[in-house]
């Protein structure tokens, strides 16, 4: 249990999380919009 979470490491992890978060949000939006165009 030695290495502390350094600020730099944490910032890197959070930035990666934000990128993935926006990507997932965009996926949600795309599915929603496709849904609106579904016709029989």
């Amino acid at each position: 249990m030695t290495p502390a979470f350094t600020d730099a490491d944490l910032a890197r992890r959070r930035a990666a999380s934000r990128r993935l978060g926006w990507l997932l949000g965009a996926v949600v939006l795309v599915i929603y919009l496709i849904g609106l165009f579904i016709k029989r």
Binding site: M1, A4, R13, A16, L29, R40
Partner: protein, 531 residues
């Protein structure tokens, strides 16, 4: 952008805002987890009161307490409250509290999104139930009266309660999506060094699949109810045959979300079970990889079986056969889970504290849900079961015995960790036995009601259904009031009780048990390393 990283510096461990502002603005995963769980418990009682009124009406034939319109509102809102405002927030509360502790992260990856996700819930719950209050003042004609499924054209015809519910579902959906995004990115980015995906606790795996299912299916539900809204107010005809639409399209869209939703509710609980079983059997989890693959298989299968929810709507024979066999296929990964649970117990050294009792109760009663689900998949037999009380009994075995008793397992298991106090084992066991007995008293008769031909969602019924309905109502009231024991036990445990060690349970394994009980406000600022 930098607030998230400097958060720790602004609020060092142990230092809080005071009062309401702390809870409104908190970005701490433990605070938010606590809020989710408290909200869930409150809404569990709200939804429960609704259904007790329904059961009271159904105690004997004839209309005693309410008119059919109000009855229809209660059943639909009960379902929405229990699913979206009680069960889902409970699981999200678990994730918030436990995921960072379990994977060695200092917090969730996106703390402010986390805060937002929670604070969308109370307004949504108010929107959902507000029409009841408005109707008292003569505004509108009450809440959503279409059942939780919103089937068009009934929902196109309905009053403003439908609009409130559509809005509430949108907000609840956004909240769940935010929670899911946060959980996915936390699991992907915040794991402590050495914790590979195949060393991830099964609880995290269960939640990861749940989060992906939510992201894949909630937008479809949102799309469906948006289309419903435009059909109601803006002259579109998505679900109206007269304008070239199709009412069955709504059912396809709804159940494309609705079936995965069942697994969304259950996967976190399935993830939790191996932890509890392994702890109280003092033996490592059996078949870790098999369970992970089963979670993934169930997640994938769950999005391709939706039409079994409306076999009676009529579809071509090949479609019927496909949806029947794909549904039956889910029994295989599910059987793997049952096998692993029992194999985890096998040759252990078991003790039966309250969480273990709930876990065992869960396995047995959820077994009944799984087995009846298997026969419901059969199209021919389903023609008899469908829309009847048989189905009502089946999904309450799945969602009460599976979902809610699973959540209770988790609450008893982690409550000492959260509070640092031991709950009352005596009350917990009493709560367990009352719950299990009265649950079966409530729902077992409903299987026979369905077989005898009682349709669901009717406020009044023919005389031959009287006895079983009376028994079911008695059971429901015992079940409802026993939950007060649960609330009381939690309350007293929060207030005080015998102090517990960091490793609360003798056989508990995992990072979360290495932290003190209760864990300090900020944890894992020093990274743990997993061998």
């Amino acid at each position: 952008m930098s607030t998230a990283t400097t958060h720790t510096a602004e609020h060092p461990a142990g230092e809080y805002h005071g009062g309401l502002l702390r809870w409104l603005t908190t970005t701490n995963h433990k605070d938010i987890g606590t809020m989710y769980l408290t909200f869930s418990l409150i809404m569990f009682f709200v939804g429960g009161l609704m259904i007790l009124a329904v059961r009271a009406e159904l105690f004997s034939p004839g209309l005693q307490l309410m008119q059919p319109e109000f009855f229809n509102q209660l059943i639909g809102v009960h379902a929405l409250v229990m699913i979206f405002a009680a069960l889902m927030p409970a699981a999200t509360g678990f994730a918030n509290w436990m995921l960072p502790l379990m994977i060695g992260a200092p917090d969730m990856a996106l703390p402010r999104l986390n805060n937002w996700g929670f604070w969308l819930l109370p307004p949504a719950a108010i929107l959902l139930t507000l029409p009841f209050t408005l109707a008292l003042f003569g505004i509108g004609d009450g809440a959503l009266a279409t059942g939780w499924t919103f089937y068009a054209p009934l929902s196109v015809q309905g009053g403003m309660g439908v609009d409130f519910a559509i809005l509430a579902v949108h907000i609840l959906g956004i909240s769940s999506i935010m929670g899911s995004i946060n959980i996915i990115v936390t699991i992907f980015n915040m794991r402590a060094p050495g914790m590979t995906m195949m060393k991830l606790p099964l609880f995290a795996w269960g939640w990861l699949i749940t989060a992906f299912l939510l992201i894949a299916t909630l937008p479809v539900l949102a799309g469906a109810v948006t289309m419903l809204l435009t059909d109601r107010h803006f002259g579109t005809h998505f679900f109206d045959a007269a304008g070239g639409g199709d009412p069955i399209l709504f059912q396809h869209l709804f159940w494309f979300f609705g079936h995965p939703e069942v697994y969304i509710l259950l996967l976190p609980v399935w993830g939790l079970m191996p932890h509890v079983l392994s702890t109280f059997s003092r033996k490592p989890t059996y078949g870790y990889k098999a369970q992970v693959y089963s979670f993934i298989a169930i997640g994938l299968l769950s999005v391709v079986v939706w039409a079994h929810h409306f076999f009676t709507a009529g579809m071509p024979v090949p479609a019927l056969v496909y949806f029947m066999f794909s549904t039956m296929a889910i029994s295989l990964p599910l059987a793997v889970l049952f096998f692993c649970w029992i194999a985890t117990m096998w040759k252990g050294a078991m003790t039966f504290e309250t969480p273990m009792l709930f876990a065992v109760g869960f396995i047995v009663l959820f077994g009944i849900a799984g087995l009846t689900g298997l026969i419901l998949a059969d199209v021919a037999a389903d023609a008899q079961y469908h829309h009847s009380y048989f189905v009502v009994a089946h999904f309450h075995y799945a969602l009460f015995a599976g979902g809610i008793m699973g959540v209770m397992t988790g609450v008893y298991y982690w409550l000492p960790k959260w509070t640092g106090h031991m709950y009352s084992e005596k009350l917990g066991k009493l709560h367990f036995w009352l719950t299990v007995v009265s649950f079966n008293l409530t729902f077992l008769p409903q299987f026979f009601l369905g077989l005898a031909g009682m349709p669901r969602r009717i406020p009044d019924y023919a005389l031959q259904f009287a006895e079983f309905n009376a028994i079911s109502t008695l059971g429901a009231f015992v079940l409802g009031f026993s939950q007060l024991l649960f609330a009381w036990n939690i309350w007293s445990c929060v207030r005080g009780g015998p102090k517990v060690e960091s490793r609360v349970w003798e056989g508990a394994e995992g990072l979360e048990w290495e932290l003190p009980s209760p864990p300090p406000h900020h944890t894992w600022e020093i990274q743990p390393v997993i061998k």
